[in-house]
């Protein structure tokens, strides 16, 4: 019986020690915190071409990834892109799975309650996409129509203002693919995403550009020093033309400066 008591005691001690051990991030001289002190670990979904996508040898590439790399280098850190499902990214940043997310997150008040945003690194907006033969022209035409969007994206809210018939997909590309394949009446997604899909041979057409949005890097709320450091890095990259260069490479136009 004595032995068993000891066993019980040890296992309880073990549990308590696990629960009380705290996840300490590495603290840097300027007060900012990083998961690993020499690395800038940033998350993206890898399912949002051309912003982030997977190559056939499972490497993540794209506009967001290059911006993340540039920001890391500007801060003198090793860039470590990390792939997370889009709907898990904000949770991943909050819980310390990554230092930041460079994943085309649109700044909105609801997200701002949970995480901090840097200054925008590109400007865009949701657009309505339909098959070429569709009569839908503007957002008003969406009433009662079936609209597909990506789970966890802000486009679900945008679409919800115009119709109650929403279909959710894991990614914008699968939503557009379904539209191309004859399903649903429309998809609401970023105009750049739609434009790229069209280039890839999707039989879809862009209609009304619904609103303007600002995309920024997401950082945990309890790490304001890191927000400042990333903002400084972004400002330098804007000034020396690096952001513009990355944008020209992917889109043939500069989407990183505020449209007039």
């Amino acid at each position: 019986m004595m032995k068993k008591n000891i066993l019980l005691f040890i296992s309880i001690l073990f549990l308590i020690s696990i629960l009380s051990a705290c996840a300490e991030k590495d603290k840097l001289a300027d007060g900012s915190e990083l998961v690993n002190k020499d690395e800038f670990v940033f998350a993206a979904s890898g399912e949002f071409a051309p912003f982030s996508y997977m190559t056939n040898d499972m490497k993540m590439k794209g506009f967001d990834v290059e911006v993340g790399n540039a920001v890391a280098k500007e801060m003198g850190l090793k860039p470590v892109p990390k792939r997370l499902k889009f709907k898990g990214i904000v949770e991943g940043v909050k819980t310390g799975r990554a230092d930041a997310a460079v994943a085309s997150h649109t700044i909105n008040p609801l997200r701002s309650k949970h995480v901090a945003f840097t200054t925008p690194y590109y400007y865009s907006g949701p657009q309505i996409f339909t098959r070429p033969d569709s009569k839908i022209k503007t957002a008003d035409d969406l009433k009662g129509k079936e609209v597909a969007v990506a789970k966890g994206s802000t486009y679900a809210d945008v679409a919800g203002k115009h119709t109650s018939n929403l279909k959710m997909y894991d990614s914008d590309i699968t939503a557009l693919k379904a539209l191309d394949g004859g399903r649903h009446d429309a998809v609401i997604t970023d105009f750049v995403t739609g434009k790229t899909a069209r280039k890839e041979g999707f039989k879809i057409e862009g209609r009304q550009l619904i609103e303007r949005s600002e995309q920024a890097i997401v950082i945990p709320k309890d790490n304001p020093k890191l927000v400042k450091r990333v903002n400084d890095a972004l400002e330098n990259l804007r000034k020396d033309g690096t952001l513009k260069k990355i944008s020209m490479k992917y889109f043939g136009e500069d989407i990183t400066t505020k449209p007039e």
Partner: protein
């Protein structure tokens, strides 16, 4: 359905990535099942102990694991625990799977230990062994042999369950298949390819378990 020649050429072209993924899948499975065996044995012993409270702890654990979907457990360990202590991605997935496998394995062990005739323990005790010594030297070796077929089964289930690690950014077989599939707008070809890899792994595992069973059976004669 893709044509056979298209399937074959894609299979050849993607060998490198898929073999990397297969190794990761195998690592996840082996680590999680071996850890699961340790966890399972621990809880099985708690369950059969004379001390009631220990039995309740074991019951609670089995109830928690069997009562929630594996994907929920994986998400909780991956996102939830990181607030307490940050385990690397691979270990988050491996621990979640081990925690899950452990519950089923503890039931396998409990069943096989209880299936050993009471007289065996009594014989050991009458030879002057303590209860724990008799357990280690007499009961457990016999129980382990009986547990082997269901353990092999659990190994295979664990292998296939590891595909759920795809949802926490592990580039294991299933994740590679769906990613390449949607990249190339060719889901079906890649799903068929990944099915082949899983079949290869399961065939190898089955073979290994059979060999082990034969080896252990020798001492029966």
């Amino acid at each position: 359905m893709p044509s056979f020649s298209h399937f074959l050429s894609t299979f050849g072209e993607t060998k490198g990535v898929f073999i990397d993924a297969m190794i990761l899948t195998l690592k996840l499975t082996v680590v999680s099942v071996l850890l699961g065996i340790i966890i399972g044995l621990f809880f099985a012993l708690l369950k059969i102990s004379n001390f009631k409270v220990l039995g309740w702890i074991s019951d609670a654990y089995v109830f928690l694991v069997r009562g929630t979907p594996l994907i929920v457990q994986i998400f909780i360990l991956y996102f939830g625990l990181s607030g307490i202590f940050l385990i690397p991605d691979f270990w988050a997935a491996a621990l979640a799977l081990a925690f899950h496998n452990g519950a089923y394995i503890s039931e396998i062990f409990r069943g096989s230990i209880q299936s050993i005739d009471q007289g065996q323990m009594e014989a050991g005790r009458s030879l002057g062994m303590t209860q724990s010594l008799a357990m280690r030297r007499i009961i457990l070796p016999q129980a382990f042999r009986r547990a082997l077929p269901p353990l092999g089964n659990q190994f295979i289930i664990g292998l296939k369950d590891s595909s759920l690690a795809a949802f926490i950014s592990m580039n294991e077989l299933f994740n590679v298949a769906t990613t390449l599939g949607s990249n190339n707008f060719d889901e079906m070809t890649y799903l068929l390819i990944v099915a082949i890899y899983y079949l290869i792994l399961v065939a190898l595992l089955t073979l290994a378990v059979n060999v082990l069973e034969k080896k252990l059976a020798k001492s029966d004669r």
